[in-house]
């Protein structure tokens, strides 16, 4: 509350000063107009990235003397509510970090955002996989500049792998054999956990193992209504999470995401199923940790290993903004190759657009995986209306892995949840 009040007051103050300066500029000689700095406010939930983002936008301000960028961060858990409340009251930022896909739609439908297809020509340099997350469902227009398309895979501790004498597994059988070797050596093969409300991390696990079971065309078949969650391929995906149960740490059912991460970061566990966003945080939590990533291997040898990918979010233009011209300049900067390069270098996330060179070795690995990717099924395809497929998967996945619910039952519950609203695209 306090923060919002002071923001408004601050902005009003700036408006008064700007008006005064404008009046002054009109009377003074031309060329003085520079003095009226426009401040563009950006809201983001990535509190973890604050330092890097401040640095990136300081560079922008140096190149654009008339525009100042003010970054404000709100923790992820409160972000969406805070943003929609502020937008409803007309007290939002000029630019807002936006969630993707279904989570974006309420803001689009309420008319809080402005389409930027034409205003930001750089968007033409983005692949559809990135733009899909920023499109409005009803009009197909683009409402934000995507910043990253993370993909998923198996993070592994290279030291522990070397010590156990194993390499990157090429088939599923290899993978299980590697787990057995690690377990025999007293190392937890896979750190996994999803209790205390963090079961989304286990949904990610389904995104890691799934593509190599259901294949790259399954997403399209699901979208066209030719396949459903009750399909044997999806049941087999769930079954695989359960088959790997012997290689998760003891006490898996009572472990949450944060604790599982700690086990991997501290070298007690050799592998962790996760997404690109872990890259920077692993490094930050233990700079000495030597790790890399591979795509979960396919069943048969010689087949490419597929990975799930999705657009994480975007930066969009708020319809009520009083500084649209300056904000558009900022958005065009976010859409530039220069921003993406800095973003990739400093944060280690796979960039959303082309024309970026990866310097970080783990990022290089992740980007090398991307040509063989398929949309993250439960998010891109089915997280649009309630009840989402994700909510059912997250609720029942621990019981499924622990053997209290059959994979067939979980698959049927997911199918029933989405059947009330999902309409296949013909």
């Amino acid at each position: 509350m306090l923060r919002r009040d002071s923001t408004t007051r601050g902005r009003r103050g700036i408006a008064v000063i700007a008006a005064a300066l404008l009046a002054g500029a009109l009377m003074a000689a031309p060329g003085m107009a520079r003095a009226e700095d426009t401040t563009v406010t950006i809201w983001s939930w990535r509190t973890e990235d604050q330092a890097a983002m401040e640095q990136i936008f300081a560079g922008f301000s140096a190149q654009h003397p008339g525009i100042k960028v003010k970054l404000q961060f709100t923790p992820d858990a409160d972000y969406q509510n805070r943003l929609s409340t502020a937008l409803r009251g007309g007290e939002g930022p000029d630019i807002a970090q936006l969630k993707a896909y279904g989570e974006l739609q309420p803001l689009v439908e309420a008319g809080y955002l402005e389409a930027i297809d034409d205003a930001v020509p750089e968007l033409k340099e983005f692949p559809e996989a990135a733009l899909g997350g920023a499109r409005g469902l009803s009009d197909g227009k683009i409402y934000g500049v995507p910043y990253s398309t993370p993909n998923m895979g198996v993070f592994y501790n290279t030291d522990l792998f070397t010590k156990a004498g194993i390499g990157e597994p090429k088939t599923y059988d290899d993978f299980v054999a590697a787990c057995k070797v690690l377990k025999a050596a007293g190392i937890v093969p896979i750190a996994a956990g999803g209790t205390n409300g963090s079961a989304w991390a286990l949904e990610i696990s389904a995104g890691v193992v799934g593509p190599n079971i259901y294949g790259p065309d399954f997403y399209d078949r699901m979208m066209k209504g030719q396949a459903r969650f009750t399909d044997p391929l999806w049941v087999k995906t769930l079954q695989r999470l359960k088959d790997l149960r012997p290689y998760y740490q003891d006490g898996f059912a009572g472990t949450d995401y944060t604790t599982a991460i700690q086990q991997f970061v501290n070298g007690r566990a050799a592998m962790f199923f996760g997404g690109s966003w872990e890259n920077g945080s692993f490094k930050a939590q233990n700079p000495k940790l030597k790790f890399s990533i591979f795509a979960f291997p396919s069943d048969a040898a010689g087949q490419p290993a597929y990975t799930s990918t999705f657009a994480d979010g975007s930066y969009g233009l708020v319809a009520d903004s009083e500084h649209k011209e300056a904000a558009t300049e900022v958005l065009r900067f976010i859409a530039s190759a220069g921003f993406s390069q800095q973003f990739a270098d400093m944060l280690g996330w796979p960039p959303a657009r082309s024309g970026v060179t990866a310097h970080d070795p783990v990022l290089q690995q992740m980007m090398a995986m991307q040509p063989h990717s398929t949309p993250y099924l439960t998010l891109v395809g089915f997280r649009w209306q309630t009840p989402t497929a994700s909510s059912v998967l997250q609720a029942e996945v621990i019981d499924m892995i622990e053997g209290k619910i059959a994979p067939e039952k979980l698959a049927a519950d997911m199918d029933q949840a989405v059947s009330g609203w999902f309409k296949p695209k013909s």
């Binding site: 972000y79 969406q80 409803r88 999803g194 003891d250 006490g251 059912a253 009572g254 309630t386 997250q394």
Partner: protein
Amino acid sequence: MRLGRSWRVHGAAAMFVAPALLLYALFIVYPLARSLWGSLFQWRGLRQLGFIGLYNFFRLFAEPSLTRVAGALLHNAAWFAGIMLLQNALGLVLAYLLFLRNRGSQLLQSVFFLPAILSPVIVGALWRLLLAPDGPLDAAVRALGLTDAPLTVLGDSGWALWVLIAVDAWNWMGLPVLVFLAGFQAIPSEVFEAARLEGANAARILRSVALPLLLPAVSSLTTLTFINSFNQFDLVYVMEGVQGNPSYSTDTLVTYFYRLAFGAEGSAGITDIGLALALGSGLFLLLSVSTVAILRYFDRKAAAL
């Protein structure tokens, strides 16, 4: 003349009541009426669309929502029963023991009440740590040789709800102890003396003499417990998330409401406001009718004495 005076008196009273009434109307009556009204409309995201009568209520009690509502209602009922037993009945026994012993009872009373000064959010976070695999309780259970397997009760759909109820009882145990002890002390000592002279033992005195006299305390505690049990949210939110994991085994009516109104984990903003408002209105109706029924039940019981 008389009319004018009565108007003056009542007018003055109305003036005194007005500020409180205004606040009450603004912050209680208006939002309540607004959500009741809103539950009769179709919603799309945050936008209110056309009038659809009771269709939201129909959807609430049809699949796939019915399973969630029924499950949550059952968990709330179990919560009520569990708290009545673990917190209130046990609290009565503890208060009686403190009353009988008297020496050091003031200190113990404070000890029992101590957790109640902690917010449920802190209590939840604390017990999450205590109950984690490799946590202190895990170590204790293993040291005692009770089990070899790691402690995973919070991830176990058969145990989770009961663990949460026990934590809630631990949190508020001091309240019934406080109320009942005050009740015991308010009973004239002659009553206990007479019962003892008649040859009644301590258990019999508690059951046949003290309990009927404590009926007002039992009535208020039951009502409070009922309301708190059916509004249960924070402990579940902190310890199991808004999904009421695992497998909805700790889902309550309010966590379900939260998911409908604000979205589930990783699905922020994907909401069903119409269903949420219908559920909220239903919960309000259930609570007000049941509370009145509970109070009337105890009133009649007290009158029968």
